[in-house]
Amino acid sequence: MLVKKGAEANLYLESFAKALHRAGKGKVVVKARIPKRYRIAELDIRLRESRTAQEAKLLSDAKRAGVPTPVVFEVDKSNMRVVMEFVEGRQVKLVLDKLRPAGRRRLCRLIGKNIARLHRAGIIHGDLTTSNMIIKPDGRVYFVDFGLGGYDKSTEERGVDLHLMKRALQSVHFRVADRAYADILSGYREEFGEGAEEIIERAKDIESRGRYVPKEERAWR
């Protein structure tokens, strides 16, 4: 059953038996990357293949780093699909605005800690939005979509990751964005420890790029 038609991939909710093995029980999510007719085949295949393989690896590495992620059951590169555990819970996107301040603060700090764990493990999420986070009834926050992720330990890439988180908050949760981002950073600082400040500063710096600034300051040539 198609549950989400994303920009990049379709998500299907299937029974384990149907998707993988008839002996299995329960449900799985199948993420299938769809071909895009607007880009040439070489680029299309390259992007879908690398993202499929990379996503599966990132999901398991993130889990090892202490960030809850769905278990990967199968990586099928010929069909550009990943079969993974179905995480039952609520999208953070749908709950963040509705929470009371204390609850929101707790949730945001937890998100910040998760991001710090990823970064410490050398992982860049690449698409930190509240649609890609699921909160389980037990309070754990799952990061589910690593489709644009990668491996990098540079301050720049970590800064971009944080900057994107802020941007996502501002575009979707603009009423609580500033407070939420501050709480995320507080969780991030606590978990990341030494060096967090430099990354947070870099995120601010990145925010001020990408628009007109005096010639001396920008990458114009």
Binding site: K5, I40, L43, R167, S171, G210, Y212, P214, K215, R221
Partner: protein, 328 residues
């Protein structure tokens, strides 16, 4: 009501005259082309100042009106290069004071969006605005135009221009790159960088220049550069479209003249059952008509400014603008 709009943010100085029915009566421009290298803000500003009078006279002649017929003066208050912005602002203030009419500062990026909505009839699009100075994916949401994606380093137009210049193609390089790309056959893998909804083109540009120095076929290289950069632009627009669930896509800015980019964006829009719009070429690039039209929209919604409020804003963000003329 007749509004005169003055555009001056980067290379182009423009004066457009638009009436409150949305008819463009005149749209004159002059574009500064550096003798070599990239844009020099002060030289561009001097060029604009030197041509302002001629552009004004031409616009009035084309519109077949007298200067006293102007009811409102609008100008590009930002974002843009400081000296260039100040030149346009000074001209606008002088005109408004002399004619004793109201003055309104307009956001350049939003003006691109609004002229597209006017002439193409798009109601509530996700806009991909691509030029030499800006690369943004913009959509209206809860009272503001929000940026759903943008370049974190250089704009796409700048990427194409600098690449062209480095390989010996004169300014503006974009159209020539497009022509050369048509005969490209082999795709050379180049860095494709999409981070969330944001884009990066500096690595792509550097690598393309490097490949040229290594002797890569020029047609293949232009082809690969376009395919890679545009696929990234379309992907980010697609993500914004999926995210906002809007049903229209608008392409605007100077790079909108590129046929391949149009084709790709159109294909993407069709896959999402969204309508695709692109304004005529003369309204995609920088010009004064869009500034004039945005001035009328703001004025009619009750927005007023005094001369003291007209200080230029070099880094004026699209999402900081008070959009008084739109509810939904």
């Amino acid at each position: 009501m007749i509004c005169l709009g003055i555009e001056g943010t980067a290379h182009t100085f423009g004066i457009g005259i638009v009436n409150s029915a949305g008819k463009v009566l005149a749209n004159s421009t002059r574009t500064y082309v550096p003798e070599k290298g990239g844009i020099h803000p002060r030289e561009a500003a001097q060029f604009h100042a030197a041509h302002a009078r001629a552009v004004l006279d031409e616009a009035l002649r084309t519109a077949k009106i007298e200067i006293e017929d102007i009811d409102l003066v609008a100008f590009s208050q930002g974002p843009g290069l400081g000296p260039v912005l100040r030149t346009a602002a000074t001209a606008a203030r002088a005109l408004a004071v002399w004619l004793d009419v109201p003055i309104i500062g307009v956001n350049h990026c939003i003006a691109h969006m609004e002229i597209g909505r006017l002439t193409e009839g798009a109601r509530d699009p996700v806009a991909l605005y691509v030029s030499g100075g800006n690369t943004q994916v913009i959509a209206f949401d809860a009272g503001h135009y929000r940026i759903f994606g943008e370049t974190i380093d250089i704009p796409i137009g700048n990427c194409l221009d600098v690449f062209a210049r480095e390989i010996g193609i004169p300014h503006p390089g974009g159209p020539t790159v497009e022509k050369l790309a048509k005969d490209g056959k082999n795709y050379l893998p180049l860095p494709y960088v999409v981070k969330g909804m944001d884009l990066s083109f500096s690595g792509l540009m550097t690598e393309a220049i490097r490949r040229h120095r290594e002797g890569a076929n020029i047609n293949d290289l232009c082809f690969s550069l376009q395919e890679t950069a545009f696929a990234a632009l379309v992907e980010v627009t697609e993500r914004a479209l999926a995210h906002t669930e809007k049903k229209e896509v608008l392409l605007t800015g100077g790079v909108a003249a590129n046929g391949r980019l149009r084709e790709m964006l159109k294909l993407m829009a069709r896959e999402h059952h969204a309508k695709f719009f692109v304004p005529p070429k003369e309204l995609c690039g920088d010009q004064g008509a869009m500034i004039a039209w945005n001035g009328i929209l703001a004025y009619k919604s009750g927005f007023r400014q005094s001369i003291e409020d007209t200080k230029v804003k070099q880094r004026w963000r699209t999402d900081e603008v008070e959009v008084t003329w739109r509810r939904s």
